[in-house]
């Protein structure tokens, strides 16, 4: 009987091997969600041990419990508000001092703490000889050495967790001595804070007063709402002022200094003296990877490798899926009588599901490749190498990858790749500019128009110019967003370069699956729903009288399209697209392009009464359009520029919505931004071109 249920929080620095320990503890019994309102992932899993069912919550990796980033706030709020039964802090033993800094903050929270000294093998190799009993005594917490990637110490960790919970291992957490001056001020605050019983019942008092002295904004908010608000805040200001005068420095500096001082004393006592190795392997690898000359070529090579891996390996799988859905459509077409219901099943339902699943292999393969470079430690280097260039435009070194995945590839995995960015502002800007790249689905549109309206010898040059334009628009737009939308939100670049490590296959596969499943669950449903809505827009209202008039099937389709809701919408927007040289028919094609960009081509095919045109082989359509004198090269360029910039397809838009934290305001902003930018650019090109006498 598993009758005892407990909840533990797994905490630790980034790169401490926390997810490996989480995987060891919970096996495949885990699920990923999001904390409400933020983009931070919430991972939970179940571990069974003896008669315990242990709910393990994997907190985001943090260096501290200050309110510096979304991650830190989420981790802190979980511990303070949900009050887990126990905190397991995963410590990277080979990077002891900075990792224990977080531990000193947990020690103030009055929640039982267990330290898992992870990567103890690497620490030993580095020549570190640790006396765990001594360390445990000095800190007053239970300690278990673990080696996550070899699954060593997992059982012992579970054993210790239950024993600490049952009180069989008794510990008395050490309190850091902040020195007499700070202690004196803490005493004053303690007296005031303890007057509010409800406050200290909800929050550990020691933590409250230390954080107050550290000028922590969210703790000051909490205290500011309590019954002792005025007294506490004014005493805190006095105390901070006094300490500032006394030390000649702000109190947070002194407090952090005392914490590190405490850790350094503990380490001196618990570590046996040993010979320190001079150079480790990581430093030697960095000599090449971060080399002045080789650094950037290596970066480009790695990014290209991720791109190549994603698209080369997913291609056959995408092909099988396409075949499968074609087969399914054929079956449906055979067994369901021709008519509206058949169209709904084949074009709406099967087409929609196929559309969702079509991206799935891409997302999976890409996340596998990204996870490999993340877990190995390269991604931080990528940011390091590219930061100077990217930060000029309000982007981050890691923003390069999403844009690269999108170019000739797909914006859906591209937007998802922004998960490698930690800072919210960097993520949002990157997500907004990624869809401007020329994705694989936009290529047929370019091929059709360039082929139809420009001599073959210029074709490659014009295409190249379009690529350049896409990059210019993406960077300019990032710069504008940084300047005007996210102004004042400075993101500091203080980033650890973790040691290189060999990723574990299990870890990579779990990460890949987790993020892939997130796509299906979160974005998949929206994409399906929207594809059905778009199908309905092009199908209704039905006009059954057409065939009787003796029109061919293709002509019927053309008339039907024009009379559908989408067709009427195309007519309505005609006055809007006139200034950029387009007419209602282009309007319809552009609306259809929101479903998926390559649909622009097949819709033009229907409009020109050619029936379904294969976007890959549009010869017949090209000839028709050449013969149509309402087109000219200038209009074609205006159309292409519009296609380049305007709203991403529904799949990318849905993924954007989910990845930006499901906030309507960012979705509306994306729609507004891309539409205005597309229209403005096309307008300038078309009207400017006319003034210069092009396109008569």
């Amino acid at each position: 009987m598993r009758n005892k249920k407990i909840t533990i929080a797994l905490a630790g620095n980034p790169n401490s091997g926390k997810s490996t320990i989480f995987n060891n503890l919970t096996g495949a019994h885990q699920h990923v969600g999001n904390y409400p309102g933020v983009t931070v992932e919430k991972k939970e899993g179940k571990a069974s041990f003896k008669d315990y069912e242990i709910n393990v919550v994997d907190l985001p990796g943090t260096y501290s419990l200050s309110a510096y980033s979304e991650d830190e706030i989420v981790a802190r709020d979980f511990i303070i508000k949900e009050k887990p039964d126990l905190i397991v802090h995963i410590v990277d033993s080979s990077n002891l001092e900075r990792n224990l800094y977080l531990a000193t903050q947990f020690m103030e929270l009055e929640i039982p703490l267990v330290l898992a000294m992870n990567m103890s093998d690497i620490a030993e190799k580095k020549g570190q000889d640790m006396d765990y009993t001594k360390l445990s005594e000095l800190l007053g917490v239970a300690i278990v050495p673990t080696i996550g990637n070899k699954n060593i110490g997992t059982k012992e960790l579970l054993e210790t967790i239950t024993k600490v919970y049952e009180g069989k291992i008794k510990t008395k957490t050490a309190h850091i001595s902040y020195g007499p001056e700070i202690r004196e001020e803490m005493d004053k605050l303690e007296k005031i804070v303890k007057k509010d019983k409800a406050l200290v019942d909800q929050y550990p008092w020691r933590w409250l007063i230390v954080k107050m002295l550290e000028n922590d904004s969210s703790v000051l908010d909490i205290v500011g709402k309590s019954s002792i608000a005025q007294e506490a805040i004014s005493q805190n200001e006095k105390s901070r002022h006094h300490l500032h005068l006394h030390f000649g420095d702000i109190p947070e500096t002194i407090i952090a200094g005392r914490r590190y001082g405490f850790i350094s004393d503990v380490c001196t006592e618990a570590l046996k003296p040993s010979i320190k190795k001079r150079h480790d392997l990581s430093d030697r690898i960095d000599k090449v990877i971060l080399n002045r000359i080789l650094g950037i070529p290596i970066f480009v090579l790695v990014m290209y490798a991720i791109f190549k891996f994603t698209f080369t390996f997913s291609e056959p799988v995408v092909g099988w899926l396409e075949k499968f859905f074609e087969w399914l459509s054929e079956i449906a077409a055979t067994y369901i009588p021709e008519g509206l219901f058949q169209s709904f099943v084949v074009d709406g339902l099967i087409g929609g599901v196929g559309g969702v699943l079509g991206f799935f292999p891409l997302v999976l393969f890409m996340f596998f490749a990204i996870a490999f470079f993340e877990d190995s430690g390269y991604m931080a280097r990528a940011a390091f190498v590219m930061d100077k260039l990217m930060s000029k435009f309000g982007l981050h070194g890691k923003s390069f990858l999403p844009m690269m995945i999108s170019t000739n590839g797909c914006a859906v995995p591209g937007i998802m790749a922004t998960r490698t960015l930690e800072n919210k502002k960097d993520r949002l800007i990157t997500m907004m500019v990624t869809p401007f790249m020329i994705c694989g689905a936009k290529l047929p549109i370019f091929a059709l128009f360039i082929g139809a309206f420009f001599p073959a010898k210029y074709g490659a040059n014009i295409m190249f110019l379009m690529y350049v334009l896409s990059v210019v628009i993406a960077f300019a737009s990032a710069w504008l967003l940084k300047k005007f939308v996210f102004k004042g939100e400075t993101a500091h670049f203080v980033m650890e370069l973790p040691p290189y490590r060999i990723p574990t296959l299990k870890g990579l596969l779990l990460k890949m699956w987790e993020r892939g499943w997130m796509y299906i669950r979160k974005a998949g449903t929206i994409i399906l729903l929207l594809s059905i809505i778009i199908w309905a827009g092009f199908t209704f209202p039905q006009n059954t009288s057409l065939e009787e008039k003796g029109m061919s099937e293709e002509e019927t389709a053309a008339v039907q399209l024009e009379q559908s809701y989408a067709g009427k919408a195309g007519k309505i927007i005609e006055p809007l697209v006139r200034p950029i040289g387009l007419d209602g028919r282009s309007g319809i094609a552009l609306i259809a392009g929101i479903a998926a960009k390559e649909v622009v081509v097949s819709t033009l095919g229907t409009i020109y009464s050619l029936g379904e045109v294969d976007p890959e082989e549009p010869e017949s359509l090209r000839e028709k359009m050449q013969a149509d004198h309402s087109w000219n090269p200038l209009k074609a360029v205006a159309f292409l520029i519009f296609c380049l910039i305007y709203l991403p397809c529904i799949a990318a838009t849905a993924v954007f919505y989910r990845e930006s934290g499901s906030q309507i305001k960012w979705l509306l902003f994306l729609i507004f931004w891309t539409t205005v930018l597309a229209w403005g650019s096309s307008f300038i090109v078309y009207q400017g071109g006319r003034l210069l006498g092009f396109g008569g």
Partner: protein, 76 residues
């Protein structure tokens, strides 16, 4: 001699004297172990000239020069 961290060349090192400014950057630097008395060694400069890679408390940390300019160190 007191210098600003961003002025240090690779292989030079110094002891942290002071961190200028207040707010989140200051806090972040403290959290990462950049506190008075700690030794910092500049390891590398990125290929494009910024950011820099420093070693502090036995691990590698990268900072933009702009951020490193907030840190005063005593060079021996």
């Amino acid at each position: 001699m007191e210098k600003i961290l961003s002025e240090l060349k690779p292989k030079e090192s110094g002891e942290v004297k002071r961190i200028y400014g207040e707010g989140t950057l200051h806090r972040r630097l403290l959290d990462m172990g950049i506190i008075k008395g700690t030794t910092i060694e500049v390891i590398k400069v990125a290929p494009l000239g910024d950011p820099i890679d420093i070693k502090v408390k036995g691990y590698h940390l990268s900072l933009r020069k702009e951020e490193a300019a907030q840190i005063a160190v005593e060079v021996r």
